[in-house]
């Protein structure tokens, strides 16, 4: 199954990927590939491989676009969602999936994230959230917890962090969810639902960066960091069956907000239609 996936949906000539040992990004990339594969192979659905476009920005996460054997475009730092907006609007039948990082989508690209959410542009954004700028060597990002260390926060991070899924919800996203790398099956299902969702969807996937974030903050190796996810990140059903007191140090893995606002390109198609009708009159 796994090797099938690699042969079918990854650019095998370019593997192995460039991420560090223990990095969570490979897991998220696999989750995305599995989600797309399951959608394509589902006889009830009408998903074609050629209709998927993978868009990424800059950073560790964004190298994933190159490894996935789809139409893929690796853009500039922070601008993946804006490029994706152009692609989706130009050809609304495409399934445009943005692979981005916590810095890429909530710092340098934060403006594009909130506005794509507000417009309800039919994109699926997968944030590879590892709490750090990995590509440049471990600087604090907008999701680095307060007090944690980074190469640019040698005395502890003074900033307060973003919760990316809540940020998207606040900006009006019609679908915002959280996944992680420990709960792979749940995360694959969330990504599938995000792609199936007509409007803007965001999945904030908690990754791990043992090399920079983990080591600097004494979080242990990749296995230790995964154990933390297992203990602190809880899938929906179990989360809601927990007593309130147990939830205090836990976070929900699942869909956080959902609604069926009209999708942007559908709405614009109506504008075109009304202009054409006027022309005919």
């Amino acid at each position: 199954m796994a090797s099938d996936l690699v042969h079918l949906y990854m650019r095998i000539d370019h593997l192995p990927q460039m991420w560090c040992p223990g990095c969570g990004n490979g897991v998220i990339m696999r989750d995305v590939a599995v989600a797309i594969q399951e959608l394509i192979e589902d006889p009830e659905l009408d998903f074609n491989r050629e209709d998927f476009v993978i868009v990424s920005g800059i950073g560790c996460s964004s190298r994933a676009a190159g490894y996935l054997d789809f139409n893929s475009i690796h853009t500039t730092h922070g601008r993946a969602i804006a490029f994706a907006t152009g692609i989706k609007f130009a050809n609304p039948k495409l399934h445009v999936v943005v692979l981005t990082g916590d810095g890429d989508c909530s710092a340098i690209g934060g403006n594009h994230l909130i506005h794509a959410a507000r417009r309800n542009m039919g994109l699926t954004v997968i944030a590879f959230n590892n709490d750090i700028y990995g590509m440049t060597g471990g600087q604090y990002s907008p999701t680095t917890p307060n007090g944690d260390k980074a190469t640019t926060a040698p005395y502890g991070n003074v900033d307060r962090p973003f919760d990316i899924a809540n940020l998207a919800t606040g900006a009006g996203a019609s679908f915002a969810a959280r996944g992680d790398i420990y709960h792979a099956r749940e995360t694959i299902d969330i990504i599938k639902q995000a792609i199936l969702h007509k409007g803007f969807s965001l999945v904030d996937v908690y990754s791990v960066c043992p090399t920079y974030y983990g080591r600097k903050n004494k979080k242990g190796d990749a296995v230790e960091m995964l154990k933390w996810q297992k203990e602190h990140l809880v899938p929906t059903a179990r989360y809601y069956s927990m007593p309130e007191s147990e939830r205090a140090d836990k976070k929900l893995i699942g869909i956080l907000s959902y609604n069926d606002y009209p999708e942007y390109t559908d709405e614009y198609a109506k504008v075109i239609e009304s202009c054409r009708k006027k022309d005919k009159k």
Partner: protein, 383 residues
Amino acid sequence: MSKAVLMQGNEAAVEGAIAAGMRFFAGYPITPSTEIAEGSAARLPQEGGKFIQMEDELASIAAVLGASAAGMKAMTATSGPGFSLMQENLGYGAMAEIPCVIVDVQRAGPSTGLATSPAQADYMQAKWGTHGDHPVIAISPSSVLETYMLIIRAFNLAEKYRTPVIFLMDEIVGHMREGVELPNPNDLIINRRKMSFHDGANKQCYYVPEGQYVPAMKPFGQGERYNITGNAHDESGFPTNSNEIAGKLVGRLLDKVEKNVDDITRVDEYAMDDAETAIVCFGGTARAVMSAVLEARTAGKKVGMFRPVTVWPFPEKQLRARLPQLKNILMVEHNHGQMLLEVQRVAGREKPVCFLGRIDGTVISPQDILAKLSEMEENHHGE
């Protein structure tokens, strides 16, 4: 009644772009280019096209590049501050070879400057604004009709050479209204990027046959799978750290324009046949220069106008051809001396180059130019 219609320069940019096949516009409001966004918002849906107002200029050019990659002819329009914000992705467009047109209606700067006043001080930015060595094509119109015709040429060059083309307008032309008789759309030549569908022999998306410079574009999202990146990349479009491949790639990108300079550069010359003084200018400045040349000729002075229409690459060959007949050159532009540097480079030590510039947001008048010509004459006699 005349067939002519009254049209503003910015409006002509929209109509010309639509005639060229532009069906996607993403932009952000900024004076003095806003009428281009407004016009596109009104006109594009009527043509089945798409307009989107983005959150900033960074997003605008990104959306334009995305739409172009997905197969649409796309454009954005801005002015100095927004043009500055677009620079990074302009370089991306050059590196990833994505055609598009970027209109910069120049205004007086630096910074917010005088938002409603004319200038031409983005000339060097158009060439050197984005980092790294990259090809640049920039075109500058001097009338409303020319705006219409040249923006079509801008799209044609963008498509032919797979590169962003900068349409360098200025407030003078952008906000000017003139009566224009537009050509019949059937008489226009419209280029379309060279496409390659499943060509079998070579599936590499950036493959370029020996002796050619521009790869055929595979339609993205229409049945071909490939990778586009701003990293140095091999012919498959995948990032590489190979210095050899990177050097070859950037060399080819530059060659696209350098080896085709005769196809790309255009100049407009007036009364140059026997001219001893050439007034060099571009864009809206040509209006005052033409008035001055006509008046100088009436007074028996051998003055002509040499106007680069393609402002990048600078039409070096054409100016060089005029050097032997000239006593001197006068560069007139609404900046502190930008195209001047190109003219000086070409003229070298052979001919003196004088300069008349303006940086206060006002417009250089024919009288200013005539006075400068007289001053040049006096200095010459004084020698």
